[in-house]
Structure formats: C-alpha cells, structure tokens
Symmetry: C2
Subunit: 265 residues, 2 copies
C-alpha cells in the first residue's frame, strides 16, 4: 500500500503545476495523473456537472489502486471535495485549504484579492475558508475566466493579457490588497508577468507548494510515504489527446511529460 | 414528417446564431436545439473526440424525431460531417459549404482570410472546399482561439479583444485580403467591432444567412417544408445549464431563449 501511486486529477493539464511541486518534495512517489481534457474546462460549468465529472475522475483513479487522491483543480475542489470525501474512504486532498493556509502564513495579511474561474469564485469556498480562520479580513474575489485560455495560448506577455489583467486587477489594487491568491492551477505560469504588473508590497500566493506540503504531512501521518528510494514514475492519462495538450503538459510540468495515455471514463 | 422539427446541434450556444437566421427565413418551422455545454468547447479537442461527440449529439436529435439535422458548429462540421452523412439516412447539413458559397458569391473574391477555432483551421475543410470551387485563390487561415472566450465574456469592445484581433488579423491584412470568413458561429457577435477594425474594402462573411438558405432549399427539394402556418417553437436542450449559458443564449438569439431543458446524452 505504501508503494502504491498517488492519484491526481484536474479538468485538464493545469494540475501538473501541483504534480511538479509534489515531485520536488517527494521524488520517490509514483504518480498517476488524470486530465479530463475531453470535457475541459470545468471552471465555467454548473456545480452539479462539476460534481458528476469529479466522481467519475475519482472512480478512474481508484481503478488504478492509488493510495491517496489530490484534487489538483480549484473548481473541482470548490464544488466536489466534501461530496468526494463523504463517498470514498481513501484520503482525498484538495488545493483550497493549502491555498488558504499559504495566504494566512503571513500574519499581516488582511486585504486579500482572489482570482479564479467563475465556478471557484461562485462557490465562495476560498472566501468561506479564509473567513473561518481569521476575523476582519477584507476579501475581493473576481472571476478571471480569460486567464486560462490566455495561458493556454502561451500569451503570457501579450497586450491582450495585460489588458485582461487591468480589467481584473485594477479594481482590487484600487482597494489596496496586500495579497493576491492565484486560485487556479493555470495561473502560476503568469507569475513573471504578475510580478512586473503588481505594485511592490503585494504578495503573490499560489497553492502548489503548500499543497505538496499537505500531501507529505498526510502521507506521514497515515504511514503511507513510499519506502522506495528510486525516483518515482509519472503516468499521465488524458480523456482527449491533441498536439496542444502535449505542448501544454510540457509547459506546466517544465519538462517532457513522457508517453501520454488516452483513456475513457 | 413535414411538420416534424428541424434538429440543430453545437458544442454550446454559438449555434443559436444559425437558429436565428433559420427562424427569420422559415418562421413556421419547429426547432429542437442541442448544445453540448457540459463538454464545450469542441474547437480545441482532437478530431476523434469531436467525431465521437457529434455522433452522440446526432443520436440525441434522432430520438426527438427531427426531419433534418443542421450541424450548427464549424468544428463539428469540419471533422464529423462526412462520417455523420455516411452513417445516418436523415439529411444532415453543415455550415462550411454555405460559408464557402457565401465567400464565392462575390466573383472578385480572391484573397481570402479565414479565422476559426484551431480544430476548424487544422481540418483544412474551408481551404479544401474553397480551392475545389475556384482556382487561383490565395488563402490565409489563422486559428483565433481567444475569440470564443472573449465573445463569451461579452468583451466585444475591450482592449484585450482589440489586442487579440491585431495578433490574428494584422498578418492577413498585410497580405491584402479582400474577404474575411468568420468560420465560427460565435464570431457574428464581433461584426460591429470588426467593421470598425478592418480597412474599407474587406468584405465580412459569416455562414448563418447562407446556411439558412441551404436549409430552405433542401427542405423544398425534399418536400419537407412545414405546412403549419403558425409560428414555430424553439426547444433548447443543453447538457449543462448555468446562469452564464442562459445569458449567452439570450445574446446569441437576440431574444429570450424560453425554458431551457437539461439533458444527458
């Protein structure tokens, strides 16, 4: 059981930013990744549909006998995590709690901007988890639906991306945010342009690194850390494969994704 | 049979621009529309997956006993129309042939720009159909994947949209196109900004009106025009429903979409 793989799923390949962080922290773990590319994106779809897809994703990973599941997608975490944790006995970790803890790791954080998909913002999951943990926070959450397609186009430093960032971020900058939570697994690729775009003193937070620490803590607690000392494998499964997805996987993972399998759910 | 409904399908609600044109020309026809919103978009997915989805869409419409099917989606027409026409005996019409005929209705058209999804451009369907019908055409086809999400955001006159249009269109304008084919059912909403953006003398073509004429001609030829003289009904079925899809349906149809049904395929 300890040497069973970790399972990850996302609507597409954005979750590979989380895989990358976990591999850096836990290089011996084998990983089975599922990207539901045939039905991506999840971020614009209804809560019921997102939950249905997430349950199908989990059942696929269970068929691969994983020891733990990471919901490497903010929208699926926001709408489906409680229902998944209720239904399945395997440990299931989402990206929102780690993101919230990363935000609050700075005791001075008080005015928090959150950008995410429409689905994640609409779920109020981040707002709720933040408000539970610290009183007096001022929260500005904005759906930023164009950022996923802009990242997927690799228009990281394009005038269209800057124009979109102005529309999304100017209102929260006017309100003096001190922290910006990147609440979508696609957004870490925007960090270079955001660093240039944001005024000094606004802290950028993404959940990948904190999520990897959560995974390590949970595995340790449950006595499930791999005993293998050789480097772990990564097997990527997608429900649709195209040249674009392979190229995106390479960019999100920052290395070759290896052989990608096409699977049906 | 003559009073059976027409069936339309699209990956989402973009195909309602075609429905609108058909309703204007053939107001007595009942229409059953299927938008596969749970799995949209099709434009970035692989040919095999698009074909599989299109066959499932057609089977849904056949279960509603339609008399003819309109593939109101350029990507699905590009990749699936021949295979659909081969498999089913019902008449099935796509949007590409009407679009091509609309382009060539100007005998002087010679330098043709085409913007579409990655899937449509990659299929070479427009390029092939145009080249078959007129020799000596100069074709410039460019995937414009950001335009669908920009239209869906209603950023029709946003700096990000203008920046994207510059990237997509400047190279073909530099080459002196005389015609721009809007080869995606979402793009008619961009016509006002495009008219402002394009130099005088570049003709804009979209397939909705010509497709409606095709439908009328086919119905006439097959003796399938509705004999009913009362206004036809429109029943919209979506595989996922969200506030955003209802709002989009209203914008694409330019009126209230009525009650929308959620269906499973």
């Amino acid at each position: 059981m300890r040497n069973a793989p970790l399972g990850f799923f996302d609507s597409g390949v954005g979750g590979l930013t989380v895989v990358r962080a976990v591999q850096q922290l836990l290089p011996a773990e084998d990983i089975v990744y599922l990207g539901d590319t045939a039905r991506l994106p999840y971020g614009s779809k209804s809560p019921e549909t997102i939950r249905q897809f997430a349950h199908e994703d989990v059942r696929f990973l269970l068929s691969r006998e994983v020891k733990m599941i990471v919901v490497a997608c903010n929208t699926a975490t926001a709408h489906a995590l409680p229902s998944l944790q209720e239904q399945y006995r395997i440990p299931i970790i989402g990206v929102i709690e780690p993101g919230v803890e990363a935000v609050l790791s700075d005791p001075a954080a008080q005015r928090i901007g959150i950008i995410a998909t429409r689905g994640t913002v609409g779920s109020h999951a981040y707002q709720h988890e933040l408000a539970l943990r610290r009183t007096g926070l001022i929260l500005h959450a904005t759906p930023a639906p164009l950022l996923v397609p802009l990242v997927e186009e690799d228009w990281l430093d394009h005038p269209a991306t800057r124009a979109a960032l102005h529309t999304y971020l100017d209102p929260m900058l006017d309100r003096g945010i001190d922290t910006l939570m990147l609440a979508c697994t696609h957004y870490p690729l925007l960090i270079p342009v955001l660093k240039d775009f944001l005024p000094d003193g606004v802290r950028l937070v993404d959940s990948a690194t904190t999520c990897a620490e959560h995974v390590r803590n949970q595995l340790t607690e449950l006595n499930l850390l791999s005993e293998d000392s050789t480097p772990g494998s990564l097997q990527i499964n997608l429900t649709d494969i195209s040249d674009q997805f392979e190229d995106l996987a390479r960019r999100f993972l920052a290395r070759s994704p290896g052989r990608i399998q096409r699977v049906s759910l």
